[in-house]
């Protein structure tokens, strides 16, 4: 089984993003960047499948500037065999990312595509489903457990109120939930090895896709609402506050 995994370069989850003073966008120019945490789960699962002898090759793909090479090196250190960087100057919307991934899918012909369920920057949660729809392939979103069956996967999905288990034939597109696994720590030798693994670069223009913008960011602002916290002195005060809240 050949697996294609996606690796998005995002602001590190521990960085608190700031809005630019003119509100045109967030200011992340000097922020620490990381591999999207949900993509780490997707990659970890692919690596586990390879370790179990169920997968033969794992190809990581990232879309963006040359800086995404760092992200792909992380993916390679995590156990991917080779990587593809689709070089693009623009920060594409999910539908265009899905179109690019479709082109890579057609080129690579993997049996399984694994992605994180959402990226922690735009929180869109769209690419997996869009790609599956475009390719008319089975989809399993929010996967928290994957078992390999005969040319198929049995997947437990996290849904509202509990879980659902479905079986999807391969090829399929799967998105990883946080609870799918616990990504391992990368050790120094793996980082060294990753430097020797190949990264193929493809200019997005070479793919010949129509990737026009479908929306525009008007403005962004701080979404945080801090409150004036009244400190309570006793349990009695606490009870009164709770009773008042209960009746509201």
């Amino acid at each position: 089984m050949k697996i294609l995994v996606c690796a998005k370069r995002v602001v590190d989850p521990n960085v608190k993003v700031r809005v630019k003073t003119d509100h045109s966008d967030v200011d992340i120019e000097h922020s620490k960047m990381s591999l999207n945490p949900f993509d780490e789960n997707a990659i970890e699962e692919a690596v586990k499948m390879k370790e179990a002898g169920k997968a033969s090759e794992i190809v990581a793909v990232s879309i963006g500037s040359l800086k995404c090479e760092d992200t792909l090196r992380t993916a390679l250190a995590r156990g991917c065999d080779r990587a593809i960087l689709v070089e693009a100057a623009e920060n594409y919307e999910p539908i265009n990312i899905a179109k690019i991934l479709k082109a890579i899918y057609l080129k690579e012909q993997p049996n399984l595509i694994m992605l994180g369920k959402q990226a922690i920057d735009d929180d869109a949660n769209q690419v997996t489903q869009m790609l599956a729809g475009m390719l008319d392939l089975p989809q399993a979103t929010f996967a928290s457990k994957i078992e390999i069956a005969d040319n198929a996967l049995v997947i437990r999905r996290e849904i509202d109120g509990g879980t659902e288990t479905i079986k999807v034939n391969l090829p399929a597109v799967v998105s990883a939930d946080l609870y799918l696994n616990e990504p391992r720590f990368i050790k120094l030798p793996q980082l060294m090895q990753a430097k020797k693994k190949p990264i193929e670069k493809i200019a997005v223009a070479e793919l010949g896709l129509e990737l026009s913008r479908r929306s525009r960011l008007i403005k962004v602002y701080d979404g945080e609402v801090k409150k004036q916290c009244k400190q309570l002195a006793s349990i009695d005060e606490l009870i009164n506050v709770i009773k008042a809240g209960q009746e509201a």
Binding site: V154, E164, E224, K230
Partner: protein
Amino acid sequence: MRVLVIGHATANQLSDSILNVLGAATKLNTKVDVLIIGKADITEIASLACIAKIIHLSDVSGEQMQSAFLAKSLAQIVKSYTHVLTAADSAGKDLLPRIAGILELSQISEVIGIISPNMFKRPMYAGNVVAEVESFEDIKLLTIRTTSFAKYTETGSGASIEEKSGLVEINPTTSFISQDIIHSDTIDLAHAKIVVTGGRSLGSKENFDDLIHTLALKLGAAVGASRAAVEAGYAPNDCQVGQTGKVVAPTLYLAIGISGAVQHIAGMKDSKTVVAINLDPNAQIFEYSDYGLVADLFDTIPQLINALS
């Protein structure tokens, strides 16, 4: 302008969240059509004033229906609308982007405000940032964060009902095996008026059950948990409140032993009254609370439970 709202029925019941989606849809100032996936009693919803027509796919099971089967035929229906809205719940998030992929349309996720027919507000970066976005699409596909819109309840002359069957083509590449709904007997977290949430300071699953569950029972509240508490195994995943879990906005939110990590705040900051109990006076949660008590939860919660008994 033609507006379509899509709703899923589970266990032969239509979730209340469709009323919030209708609340969002009516911001577009036009009557809407509603498409309901799955068997359900639709008499109540058919009486709402804002609905022109209900398209009911009653021959499929809402909870067993896979997006892979639905998306193709729904894409054909979607094409004749300018706006298509569905709840940003697990079913909506699974389905709408697949339709978008088939039609090669973009989607705007987790809409929290409708400014105009082509301008929308949505959160990014775990809710730390709110973005205003203008869509250039002829068909706007929107998933709606239901906690941001009031339920639509106005009744009127009644909608026309179109029962549709045989629309969905089931193919063998995907098959439903089972569903495991954990808390069908307790209060649904996403729609609860009161939420009691426990963090990792509870220390064990036993303490979590003894204190958080008992208090929630006394208050008629739903139980929530921080990501750390879920990861420590104190509570199941579907209890998780936060960016990576559920977004809640109850009238009363009790945060017990919660530190207030950014990702947790993203899931509860729209709650009306927030009360936090934490031993650490510098815990970030207090910055997002209306009332705070600096105290040991192991002393406080049993006393609270007693007082409410």
